[in-house]
């Protein structure tokens, strides 16, 4: 570059120093143009230079033409150096640009070549490279807008002008009014909660009463984003995720939210590593629905009992702490009415009773608050149930929909606690105290808030901050809860790595505090339960501008001072270990995670602080989407709601939507490249997939076998009937849209899987369109919407998920285990044995990886098909002669090439006794459809164990007898066959 610049310099000098006429404009322009154009670097020449190897001439190496050892060695050394250097040089000259060398997670999609986007250590090089090959860089600010963009910008400008004009007029009108009333009241026209001291002159505003028992509306988004949230709402961290993750498509939001599905960077293995070995994975779980209950403790307990919470939780001494409010409970809830359909797993959190109430009121009669958290796919069903129960509860229990008021973050992995400690700074109680003192005047208005004992609060905060160094939240008391207020995280942004305990003594104190867990005694009622505290925190969040100003004023390297006006964000944290599992507690302990509950509006700053926290082990916490959530649940061997619970309504809807997706995928492939379902060889001469190939065909398993006995060609028939059945379908759909629930409850007349799936899709879309209240931006007429919500919600409950066998239900693990152990166990009368499913975890014994939709068979019966049963049992490793083997799984070890003859002979003999392998002629055939017991709902290769595992559901009726008869060893062995594949694999199932 240096030789290019000099021509410009003299002219510049002239301009600066003398007032002489500048060079003729044309010539100077020409000159500058020529010099601006950089010579194109010859990459080939550069590469050739880098690859050139230097060599020594003989005359130089051997002076005077003499050969001796010294010179000989020196010549060789020179050669070695030259070659080594050449190798290094040519490696460096690989045509790789700086931005191609950033680690995978730093690669960005847009303008990644821009030097401003490469990490600092590569920036110099990147700058040089960009100079060298004349890469144009455009900053968004200076970009010439496209014609379309220009139009939009002009419109925006006009609208802004109009808006500001209107605003000015409004201000003017207001300032005229001010003369009449007290200035203090006008400064804050909207009463910001109870903290404002009432002055004599100001008009006391009535605190608006919250309408209970109505569905919450999503917060009105900014005008800029309003159009995009008509049919769905955004998570509070939407902007973060939309840049970095694949979201649900705008036309098909999931559960009326726009939810991140999976990060755009490759993340299957990194997620596994971050959650198990190093790092942390966090999710914005704000889409989880929250319902608040408030009422007398005994009536709330009555409600919970009616929802199917076990008696041991509600009464026993063991769960005393949960009722007290320092633990959370995750439990499955059921409908109240007779079939007691399972709804979803729900997390129940009690609010700790305030100190003075503890003494004054009798235990059962004191007023308590409860939070219920449930998956959004089952929210409406659950909401209906809760409302119905609350109506009949005596004394009354008020129900509140807190969906868009409380958001949550879930974080798991060894670095989770550390990241949370770095991001959540508790508000010191002294500041709180001061606040209290200021607002002492209106104690009666803020009766809920002022009951926290500062000393106890201090204990809670101290315990929280003593958790530094904790790598697994499962070490804490199970399902423990801790609640305190935090400061605005933006004041401490970017977060810094916290100091972790290093000495043994510090470790001991950590262990001590975990063992004592003083939070149980000291925890006051978390402010999060208090609506006013939530609102106050949301409203008091200062603008980013104000934050920046304060940070600018702070001395370098220090955080700004805490001020009185800072918001105190009420926060609640609890640990969960997934769904409660009875079979093994070890697994459960592995995957504990923290859940942070926050006011909806405060989610974003906390999320950013968490995401940018530099972990002590390097990197930052990752974020996950729905797929990662599911992946980790799968790796922990826990079922994921809704996909792994086809017996619930939400699970069924999920299955139906997945069916449609899989069918679409299948149809998109060319005929030669997709599975031809009717030609799948199942072994034993049977041809054709059982049921619909792309579905977990529960209808067929539960009741449809008699109807579709041929089993083979029905898929193709379905495809063929697609056209013919169109009319019928239309009629049926018309009925569906007419909302006749009775018609929907039974299966459509066409009765084939394809049509069902399609119809289901249409109907569910229909349902989505009609049933849910739509928060439209422009709509201001509240009454019509209110009307709309009520009846339509009920209609949604009437429309049972299309096609679902009405009696299909999911059994709790305890009940299922009892049934499997003894024949004497009687099912509750409302459960139909022939359609009760139990969720199981499958572990493949030999080889193979189960996929979703894989069919599960029991072993053939010993009476009818003893031969096949024997063949399958022979494959069990426990039934085989033991030999130490190092080779591939379930195969003989590989012999060396030059193995002696006797070894070869022995190998031959061994291979004759070796169990048959898949694909060989004597590999046992898959059992028939009479032995079909269930389907795999999620299956994959498990990274932790290095083998295929899966989660599925089995029909209790078909496995109970075998399990009882053959016991642990043989009774729980099944055969798993992937859809569209004829090879069965041995697996073992455990109830989860």
């Amino acid at each position: 570059m240096a030789p290019d610049r000099p021509p410009q310099l003299p002219s510049k000098g002239q301009q600066a120093n003398t007032k002489k006429r500048k060079d003729a404009p044309t010539s100077s322009h020409k000159g500058s143009d020529a010099s601006n154009k950089r010579p194109k670097t010859d990459h080939r020449a550069k590469q050739r230079d880098a690859r050139q190897l230097s060599a020594q001439t003989s005359s130089k190496a051997f002076k005077n033409g003499e050969l001796d050892v010294d010179k000989f060695v020196r010549a060789r050394e020179f050669e070695m150096r030259a070659l080594e250097e050449g190798m290094a040089r040519s490696k460096k000259a690989l045509t790789k640009r700086a931005f191609q060398q950033v680690p995978k997670e730093l690669r960005r999609r847009t303008a990644s070549h821009n030097v401003k986007k490469v990490p600092k250590r590569l920036r110099e090089r990147g700058k040089r490279e960009m100079n060298e090959d004349n890469t144009p860089t455009v900053t968004a600010r200076r970009r010439k807008p496209t014609p379309h963009m220009r139009l939009r910008l002009e419109t925006v400008k006009k609208l802004r002008a109009l808006g500001s004009k209107r605003k000015a007029e409004k201000e003017k009108a207001k300032s005229e009014k001010v003369t009449v009333t007290d200035p203090k009241a006008t400064a804050k026209p909207i009463p910001s909660g109870p903290k404002q001291p009432p002055t004599a002159t100001s008009i006391k505003t009535r605190v608006p009463r919250v309408k209970k028992a109505t569905l919450a509306r999503p917060p009105v988004p900014k005008a800029k984003f309003r159009k995009r949230q008509i049919h769905k709402s955004w998570l509070p961290t939407h902007l973060f995720h939309a840049k970095r993750a694949r979201m649900t498509p705008p036309s098909a939001p999931l559960w009326r939210f726009s939810i991140p599905v999976t990060p755009t960077v490759k993340s299957y293995r990194p997620t596994h590593r971050a959650s198990h070995e190093r790092g942390a994975v966090a999710w914005d779980m704000s889409y989880m629905s929250t319902i608040g209950l408030e009422g007398r403790q005994d009536s709330i307990i009555g409600m919970l009992r009616a929802l199917g919470v076990g008696e041991e939780e509600l009464r026993a001494k063991r769960s005393e702490k949960w009722r007290q409010g320092t633990r959370v409970l995750e439990t499955f809830m059921y409908e109240r009415e007779a079939p007691h359909q399972p709804i979803a797993p729900v997390i129940v959190v009690w609010c700790v009773a305030a100190g003075d109430e503890k003494k004054s009121v009798e235990l059962e009669k004191r007023k308590r608050k409860v939070l219920l958290r449930i998956h959004p796919s089952a929210f409406y069903q659950f909401w209906e149930e809760v409302l119905r129960l609350a109506k009949v509860a005596k004394p009354e229990v008020s129900v509140e929909d807190l969906r868009f008021e409380i958001g949550s973050i879930e974080i798991t992995g060894p670095g989770a606690t550390e990241a949370l400690l770095g991001a959540l700074w508790p508000t010191p109680s002294s500041a709180k105290e001061a606040e209290r003192g200021a607002s002492a005047g209106d104690a009666q208005t803020s009766k809920g808030a002022s009951t926290v004992d500062p000393a106890a609060d201090k204990v809670v905060i101290k315990t929280w901050s003593s958790l530094a160094g904790l790598t697994n939240p499962a070490m804490l008391p199970q399902n423990c809860m801790i609640g305190f207020d935090i400061q605005d995280p933006r004041l401490h942004h970017p977060p810094r790595t916290i100091t972790l305990p290093k000495s043994d003594a510090e470790q001991m104190t950590l262990l001590q505090s975990i063992a004592d867990w003083p939070v149980d005694a000291a925890q006051g009622p978390p402010e999060l339960f208090d609506r006013r505290a939530r609102l106050a925190a949301s409203r008091a969040l200062p603008s980013q501008k104000a934050i920046n100003r304060r940070k600018g004023l702070a001395p370098p390297g220090q955080y700004p001072e805490l001020s009185e006006k800072d918001p105190r964000i009420p926060t609640m944290l609890y640990t969960t270990a997934g769904a409660p599992s009875l079979t093994d507690r070890k697994r459960q302990a592995q995957n504990a995670s923290w859940t942070v509950l926050l006011p909806w509006k405060c989610m974003q700053p906390v999320w950013y602080s968490l995401m940018y926290y530099p972990l002590s082990t390097g990197q930052q916490p990752r974020f996950g989407g729905l797929d990662e959530k599911r992946q980790l649940a799968f790796e922990a061997g826990q079922p994921w709601f809704p996909a792994d619970f086809p017996g619930t309504r939400a699970g069924w809807e999920w299955e139906v939507s997945e069916r449609v997706k899989r069918e679409e995928e299948w149809k998109r492939r060319p005929k030669g490249k997709r599975v031809c379902w009717e030609k799948v060889e199942l072994g034993g001469g049977r041809v054709g997939e059982v049921g619909v190939g792309w579905a977990c065909d529960w209808e067929r398993l539960v009741g449809g076998m008699a109807k579709e006995d041929s089993g083979t060609g029905d898929v193709e028939a379905a495809a063929a009937a697609d056209g013919a059945g169109e009319e019928k379908m239309e009629i049926w759909m018309a009925e569906a849209s007419a909302g006749e629930g009775a018609v929907l409850a039974q299966r459509p007349p066409t009765g084939n899987g394809n049509a069902i799936a399609k119809a289901a899709n249409v109907a569910s879309e229909e349902q989505a369109k009609t049933s849910v209240p739509r928060p439209t931006a422009g709509e201001d007429a509240a009454p019509p919407r209110k009307q709309a919500t009520g009846p339509e919600i009920t209609s949604s409950t009437n429309i049972a998920a299309p096609g679902k066998p009405p009696a299909l239900t999911q059994l709790p693990a305890t009940l299922a285990n009892a049934m499997l152990e003894s024949a004497g166990t009687v099912l509750p009368p409302h459960i139909d044995l022939s359609s009760a499913l139990l969720t199981v975890r499958l572990t493949l014994i030999t080889r193979g990886v189960p996929q979703t939709c894989a069919r599960i068979y029991r072993l053939p019966s010993a009476t009818h098909n003893a031969g096949l049963r024997k063949q399958w049992l022979a494959l069990l490793p426990s039934n085989q002669p033991q030999h130490k083997q190092k080779g591939p799984k379930n195969a003989l070890p590989r012999l060396p090439k030059d193995a002696p003859a006797h070894l070869l002979q022995r190998r031959l003999a061994q291979s004759l006794v070796e169990p048959p392998r898949a694909g060989e002629d004597d590999y046992p055939a898959c059992p028939g459809e009479e032995d079909l017991v269930g389907f795999v709902t999620s299956g994959n290769f498990k990274l932790g164990e290095g083998q295929g595992t899966g989660l599925g559901s089995l029909l209790l009726e078909r496995v109970a007898e075998g399990a009882r008869q053959y016991g642990e060893k043989e009774g729980r062995v099944c055969i798993v066959r992937n859809a569209g594949n004829g090879v069965g694999r041995l697996a073992r199932w455990d109830v989860v």
């Binding site: 020594q56 051997f62 050969l67 010294d70 190798m87």
Partner: protein
């Protein structure tokens, strides 16, 4: 996209005739002061340039294989490295025709006119990447240094040992290469097929 595949031949040039040697053996004439291993690998003349080497190969291929051979070889033949001081060279040739070049090299007995020396060209390594050829050259240089030192030790020859040489000392002690061994082509298509046949 199909990649153009090459072979890299690492070769040594030996000068069997002492009378036409390019260097004098140090020490008194007649007395064998310099070890044989040093004498065996003599430097080439400065006049032997890569261009001449290229000409030797071209001519050789043309004589042995005629127009067909020279036509096949000419497009891809390239001298990647030639060091007269150690008489080592690396030649690049397309994978399909490296045998023609190898044959031509084997038949060379005399360097052409301006030099006019009897010589033997020994192909010691055929590899698919230049890196492996370079590594092999380094390995061989190390071994010959070690040998020269070992032989020279008795005669109190002060040897300035490079640091790199020390480090490898004893690493491949019994790695002895004669005239015939050390020629192996792991990447040759024929051999690969044979391998897979055996495995199957």
């Amino acid at each position: 996209m199909v990649r153009i595949k090459h072979r890299y031949l690492l070769l040594n040039i030996l000068y069997p005739d002492q009378k036409t040697a390019n260097v004098r053996i140090a020490g008194r004439p007649g007395e064998q002061d310099v070890p044989y291993s040093v004498q065996f690998r003599q430097p080439s003349s400065d006049q032997l340039t890569p261009q001449i080497l290229l000409r030797i190969i071209r001519d050789g291929v043309a004589t042995l294989f005629g127009d067909y051979g020279s036509g096949k070889v000419s497009s891809s033949l390239q001298i990647k490295y030639f060091s007269p001081a150690t008489s080592t060279a690396i030649i690049r040739i397309s994978r399909d025709h490296y045998r023609l070049v190898w044959a031509a090299l084997s038949f060379v007995t005399r360097l052409p006119k301006p030099l006019d020396q009897p010589c033997v060209i020994q192909v010691v390594r055929v590899s698919g990447t230049i890196k492996k050829a370079e590594e092999e050259a380094i390995r061989r240089a190390r071994i010959s240094i070690r040998r020269a030192q070992r032989a020279g030790k008795g005669k109190d020859v002060v040897v300035a040992a490079a640091s790199g040489v020390q480090a490898v000392e004893g690493a491949d002690e019994d790695d002895d290469f004669g005239m015939m061994d050390g020629i192996e082509d792991h990447d040759a298509p024929g051999e690969a097929e044979e391998d897979s046949d055996e495995a199957g």
